[in-house]
Every structure is written in C-alpha cells, then in structure tokens.
C-alpha cells in the first residue's frame, strides 16, 4: 500500500498522524485535569456553597448572586472533563481537539475558583473588572509588538517604551495636567520607537540587542532621575489620575456594565486602538504594504514600496502605542512614578503578541487571559487558599510559558521577522 501512495497522500497521512497525536495528548491532559478536579477539589472541599456576587447593592438593575454548591459542581466538572478527554480517543475526536481543550481549561479554572470560594463569597464582577484593567498595558504592549513585527522589526524594547511612557506621563502630567502628560507620554514612546527604527534600519544593529539596550537605557535614565530629582522635588511626581468615565445607559447593565463601560480612557483607548489597528493592517492599502514589507521586503521593494520608510513609520507608531500604554501605569492608576514600575509587563505583552498570532485582536484576547490570571491570583490571596501566595503570583508567568509553548507550533511570525534589510 505504501508503494502506491502518491506524495500528497503521504503528506496528508503525516498531517493526520500529527493531529491524532495531538488529539491523544489533549485527551491525556483533559483526563489528568478531571482526576485533579475530582480528587483535590471535590474531596478536598469543605463543602458549602460558593457565592459569587454579580452586582453591588445600589446598582440600578441588581442581578442576584450566583450560588454554586461546591461539591456538586466539582463532581460535574470532573465528569465533563473525563467525558471530553475520553472523546479524544474515539473516532472523530480529532475534529474537536482545540475546542475541547479550551472548554476543558475553562472548566478546570471554574472548578478551581469554586473550590477556593467554597463556603465564602466574593465579587465576580470585581474580578472581571480588574481583569480588563490589568489587561490594558499588556494589550497595548502586545499591539505595539504586532505593529512593529508586522514590518519585521522585533520589538523587545516594549518594556522600555512602557516605562518611558509611565515616567513621562507622571512628569509632564504633574506640570501640565492629565492630557498634557498623556500627549507627552505618547510623544516620548514615539521617540523611542523612532530611535529603535534608526538603530535597526539605518545602523543595522541586531534587533534584539537594540531592544535590550533601549530597555537598559530607559531603566537607567528613569531610575537616575527619580532618585536624583524626585527625592528633592516631590511635586514633579504627583500627577492627576484619569477617573473612570461612565458610558450612559450601557454602564448600568449588570456585570457587563461595570466590566466594560465604567472604565477610564485607557481601557476605551486600548479597545479602539485594537480595532483601528486591525482595520489598518488588514483592510487598507498601506496596511497591506506594511505586511508585505514584513513578509518579503525584497519583493515589496521591487514593487516600489519604500521598505525603510515603512519600517520607520510603523515602528514609530508602535512606540506611540506603547507610550500610551505606559501612561496607564501613572496617569491611569496611581499618579506617581516608581523605579522599574512596569515590572516585566512589556515582556508579557510580547508573549501576548505571540499567543495572539501577530493579530491585534489575538493579542487583546491573550492579554485578557493574562489579566484574568493576574486578577485571580490577587483575589485568591484574599480568600486564603492553602496554596502559598508566591505560587499564585507565578500564575501569569506559568500561563505565558504554557501558552507560548503550546501554541507556538501553530503560530507563524512574519517571514522576514528579525532580519535587517539591505537595499541593493
């Protein structure tokens, strides 16, 4: 039989076996999760109901609390997980692999939450609201990554751009007020984007080195100024904070209202920018050109697209987006700058970009997952679970590694990503 098989069939078979293997792996993971949920969560629970509060008492349309019997929920979740896992080994299981995995993970997280909350209560809406807030800098960082990697410039410097935006936002915001600070943060982010473009496009510095250098430089400058100047002149580091803006009518909806429509301008800005970037990259002529530069700069150049200029413009805009995201740290939350306050979120944004497969919406979704992991660990620390808080704090990072390791096989970066283009 092998002799008569033509090459295309052989390739299809190979793909099939890969899929079957993936389906098996998914099945094993799901069954392991099922066992975990059954043993740890169902047996280990103290019993009682988990109460999730959906509304605050004085909301116009108060939704009733969500009451979940912990023991029963764990058993049901375990049973569903076991079923999903077993299905992977049956005929036709291959078709549902991705969906089952996603649903299974969701269920496992839900079971975990119910287990942690059993006998207590906490505000689900509050956690979701925090999720969106925490996702903002990650999403904007990821978006900055998408914009620059689509023109084949690897942007490790997101972290530095965020930090520069945070610093400038606090400094100028203290002097000129919130909107002045925001504009300056965007401008400085753009400046660092331009510097990155100049280093990698014109001076052909290795892209990762250039990014690392910008990060080191920004960290150095901001730390230096805050220890040298802010100690003495405290009024320079006391910026106004943007308050949440309620969107009339929509903000009164239960759950959705507080989560999406009672946020400050950074949240709205992030959502709008993601939409605009998607439109730009995939529905406009210049977006098509930008992607061509990222996939095959030589071909783009032959067709008369100015590769260097396209890279300069896109990376500068990416810097501006990151600068806006950076201002969130100061103008959007606390109003003052602390040394190294971005704390690696720029790198998580980079991971969000990869997990989101170099698509603005994908990056936003991935950022929401990270935001969820982050806000969950914060809430769980309050609930006093037996898990040490240090391990809960690792959750977002472990999630990043798992997502990058698990999804990268299916994600494909722009073809020319990371390579300098030398015009002939």
């Amino acid at each position: 039989m092998a002799k008569t098989m033509n090459p295309i069939d052989a390739q299809a078979r190979k793909l099939d076996t890969a899929k079957v293997r993936q389906a098996r792996n998914t099945g094993v993971i799901l069954i392991c999760l099922s066992v975990l949920v059954a043993y740890v969560f169902a047996f280990g629970t103290s019993g009682g109901d988990a109460v999730f509060r959906l509304s605050r008492p004085n909301d116009p349309w108060a939704a009733p609390n969500l009451v979940v019997p912990a023991m029963a929920f764990s058993y049901i979740a375990a049973a569903v997980l076991a079923f999903l896992g077993a299905r992977q080994f049956m005929r036709g299981g291959v078709k549902w692999t991705g969906l089952s995995m996603g649903f299974g993970l969701l269920l496992a997280v839900a079971a975990f939450l119910v287990w942690a909350t059993a006998g207590k209560s906490f505000s689900l809406t509050g956690m979701l609201q925090a999720t969106v807030v925490r996702a903002v800098p990650i999403a904007l960082g990821g978006l900055a990554g998408v914009l620059s990697e689509r023109v084949a410039v690897v942007n490790i410097a997101i972290e530095g751009m965020l930090l520069a935006g945070a610093f400038t936002g606090a400094l100028v915001g203290s002097l000129l007020g919130g909107f002045g600070g925001l504009a300056a943060a965007v401008a400085v982010g753009g400046l660092f984007g331009f510097i990155l473009a100049a280093l990698v496009v014109t001076y052909r510095v290795d892209q990762i080195i250039a990014g690392v250098v910008i990060n080191l430089f920004v960290l150095g400058v901001t730390s230096y100024v805050s220890s040298q100047v802010y100690q003495e002149f405290r009024f320079l580091n006391n910026a106004p904070v943007f308050r949440p803006v309620r969107i009339p009518f929509l903000s009164d909806l239960p759950v959705i209202g507080p989560v999406f429509f009672q946020q400050n301008i950074f949240v709205y800005g992030a959502f709008i920018m993601v939409c605009v970037a998607t439109y730009y990259l995939f529905y406009t002529r210049s977006g098509l050109r930008a992607r061509a530069v990222g996939e095959h700069p030589q071909a783009a150049d032959t067709l008369g697209i100015n590769v260097y200029r396209t890279r300069y413009i896109n990376v500068t805009v990416a810097g501006m987006v990151a600068g806006f995201g950076g201002a969130w740290f100061t103008l959007g939350s606390v109003g003052r700058f602390d040394e190294g306050m971005t704390n690696g979120l720029g790198y998580i944004g980079l991971a969000a970009m990869i997990v989101g497969r170099w698509h603005p919406f994908g990056a936003l979704m991935a950022a929401l997952v990270f935001g969820f992991a982050d806000s969950m660990q914060q809430k769980l620390a309050l609930l006093q679970t037996p898990i040490p808080s240090e391990f809960l704090a690792m959750a977002p990072y472990i999630a990043t590694i798992i997502l990058v390791a698990g999804l990268v096989g299916r994600a494909r970066p722009p073809a020319a990503d990371g390579q300098a283009y030398i015009k002939e």
Partner: protein, 377 residues
C-alpha cells in the same frame, strides 16, 4: 552591490591581515564608546541640575573608586567576578544563536542552591564542602536554564520569552524558599536564609593586608572558567558545533548536528555559569541569601557579553570595565552625591555605541582606516 563588495573585501582583508580591522573592532570602537558615554553621562548630570564642579568631582571619584587604591581594586575585582562568570555563559549562548535573558533567574536559583548546601552538612572539610556548594549552584542554575532550552527544542517556544518568565518566577520562588522553616534563619520573620558555614565560604584573598578587603577566591573560579570557555569554544568539537549552529543553523543541521540537543546543552551550560556566579556571590560576598541578592548582575551580564563580543577574553575585559564602573559608581555616590543609577545610563550608552559601529564611525570618522583604502590593500 557596493555594500557587498565592501563587505567581501573586508572579510578578505580580515583573513589576510587581521591586525588592523581587529584592532579597530576590539579597541578603537570600545574606547570611543566609553568616551562618548562618559560625555553623555555628564550631559545627563547637567540636565538634572548638577553643577560642573560636582561633575568633575564625580568622575574623579569614579576613577579613584575603581583603581585608586588596593581597596578600590579589590572592590572592582569582586564586582567583576560574577559579571564575567554569568556573561561567559551568555557568550556561549550568543555564539550558538541563543539569546538567554534568564541569567538573573539562573543566578538566583544557583545562588540559593549554593546557600542551602552551604549551611547544611556541618563538619565537612572545606575541600569537600566548598566544591560541593559551588557544584550545587552550577547544577541548579543549569537545570533552571535547561527548562527554557528544552521548551525551545521540544516546542519551539522562543527562549527570550521563556527565560524572561523564568526570571520573574525565580523572584517568587526565592521568596518562597527563604520562608521555608528549614532555610529561614531562626528567630527571623523576614525572608533571610541561614548563614553559610565557614567550611563552604570562598576564602578571602587579601585578609593579610586588611580584613575589610572583600576580594575572594571566586576570582580563580572565574579565571578558570574564562580559560575553560575559550578551550570549549575554539578547541573542541562541541564548541565548533555551537558556533556552527549559531552561524548557520540550516547548514549545521545538514552537516548532521543535532540542533535540539545543542540548544539544550548550550542553555544548560549558560545556566550553570550563571548559577556559579550566584554561588560566587552567596558563598564569597554575602554569606547568606536575601530576596533580590542578584542585584541585576544577570542583566548587566548581557551587556558585558555584548561588549566583549562573546569572546572569553573580551568578556573578561568588559567584565573588568563594568566591575570598575560599579565600584567607582559607589564611590561617586558617596563623594559627589550623584546617584549610582547614572552608571546604568553610561553602561547602556556604551553598549549602544559598541553594537552600532556604523554610528561610531559616523561620529569619529578619523579613528578608522578608510574602507576604500582597505579594499585596495
């Protein structure tokens, strides 16, 4: 077209007469980079309202604090030792085309492991206990980096992302370990480990001059490591495979080198070096572990490896320079009241100029041989 012939002639020239181009690359560019960085550092001080006299004083303090006395030299070498160790690992990674940002985390985990071995096993003689603690540090750092290497080889997860995440996790992990009852110092509520026993401490070298001199025998570990890495990279088959898969992964694969295995080995080696650097800090300088005892050495090591052009000897020189800046920077903070964070700015600027030789050539055209003339020779 012109670019290509130029680079070709450059390469031919390098083969025929390595002296001049190597000299420019290895000496002229770094020297200019340091000078420009110092000038821009002064500009940064001016911009933050520091007067000229203080700037002068701070640069004098920088020199005095780094090489001006026996104590200064001891401090410089003490600061340089872990930097060189960690960036040797990084240099091997660069040579193999791997960008390991995780030295900071590997250093923490390695240092932690060394401390745990260092305060356990009372009554062991030094010549057993000290090597054991050092090896524990190297093994722990290597395994921690191995996670990233394995992920890269098995799933294709980019090592930049995974090592950054491992860094962030290592801080939490060290916090957790430091609060474990077997590790935490008795009677303390804050995260601090027990003290390393005398038998596991790296002996100090200059105690006969002044007991306050901190230079310790980790210096020899570092020098041995420099030699070892040189030998590994340039005299062994393994080193050749590392360099080949860094220079051209496709060609290396066609030549039958197992790229996955090489990735894992290189990452483990880099992690082991960083772990050794951590052990060096905890066993030689600190004597115990506290949160954040790595103090950013792992990140400075990236810069040192870049500055040293990923060559063991270059790394040694760059490490000494950064050690001197570190030691001098502390003196500067004391003498002139200028924040030590200025050193970070100067270091970043040095790297920018080193990494962008085109930029340096543009600023200082007279320091370099004309490329056209080089082509004719």
């Amino acid at each position: 077209m012109n670019e290509q012939t130029e680079s070709l002639s450059e390469k031919l020239l390098q083969r025929a007469a390595p002296g001049r181009v190597d000299f420019e690359d290895m000496v002229v560019v770094p020297v200019f980079a340091v000078i420009v960085a110092l000038i821009l550092g002064a500009v940064a001080m001016l911009a933050t309202n520091v007067d000229l006299a203080t700037i002068g004083r701070s640069y004098v303090a920088l020199v005095v604090g780094s090489v001006g006395s026996v104590n200064a030299i001891s401090e410089t070498l003490t600061a340089a030792t872990p930097l060189v160790l960690a960036s040797l690992g990084m240099a091997v990674g660069f040579r193999a085309g791997l960008f390991n940002i995780g030295a900071e985390g590997q250093l923490l985990i390695g240092g932690m492991a060394a401390v745990i071995v260092g305060f356990s096993f009372a009554g062991m003689p030094t010549y057993v206990h000290l090597p054991l603690a050092l090896i524990a540090g190297a093994v722990a750092g290597g395994l921690y980096a191995g996670i990233a290497g394995w992920l890269r080889a098995a799933t294709g997860a980019h090592e930049v992302i995974s090592t950054i995440m491992l860094n962030l996790m290592s801080y939490r992990l060290v916090d957790y370990i430091l609060r474990l009852p077997v590790v935490q110092r008795e009677g303390r509520a804050d995260p601090i480990s027990r003290s390393v026993l005398d038998s596991a401490e790296l002996p100090r070298l200059l105690e006969w001059i002044d007991p306050n001199l901190r230079l310790h025998s980790g210096l020899f570990v570092m020098l041995v490591a420099v030699f070892l890495v040189y030998w590994l990279l340039f005299k062994t088959t393994f080193g050749f495979e590392f360099r080949a898969s860094g220079a051209n992964p496709e060609a290396a694969r066609y030549a039958g080198m197992r790229s996955g295995l090489i990735i894992v080995i290189v990452m483990v080696f880099a992690g082991a070096m960083a772990g050794l650097a951590g052990a060096n800090q905890t066993l030689g300088v600190l004597g115990r572990a506290t949160p954040g005892f790595s103090a950013g050495i792992g990140f400075d090591a990236i810069a040192v490896a870049l500055l040293g052009r990923s060559h063991p000897v270059g790394v040694l020189m760059a490490g000494l320079l950064f050690g001197a800046l570190e030691a001098g920077g502390r003196q500067m903070q004391v003498d002139a009241g200028v924040s030590i964070d200025l050193i970070a700015i100067i270091q970043a600027l040095i790297i920018v100029f080193i990494a962008a030789p085109l930029l340096v050539r543009k600023i200082f055209p007279w320091g370099f041989q004309k490329e056209t003339r080089a082509g004719k020779e």
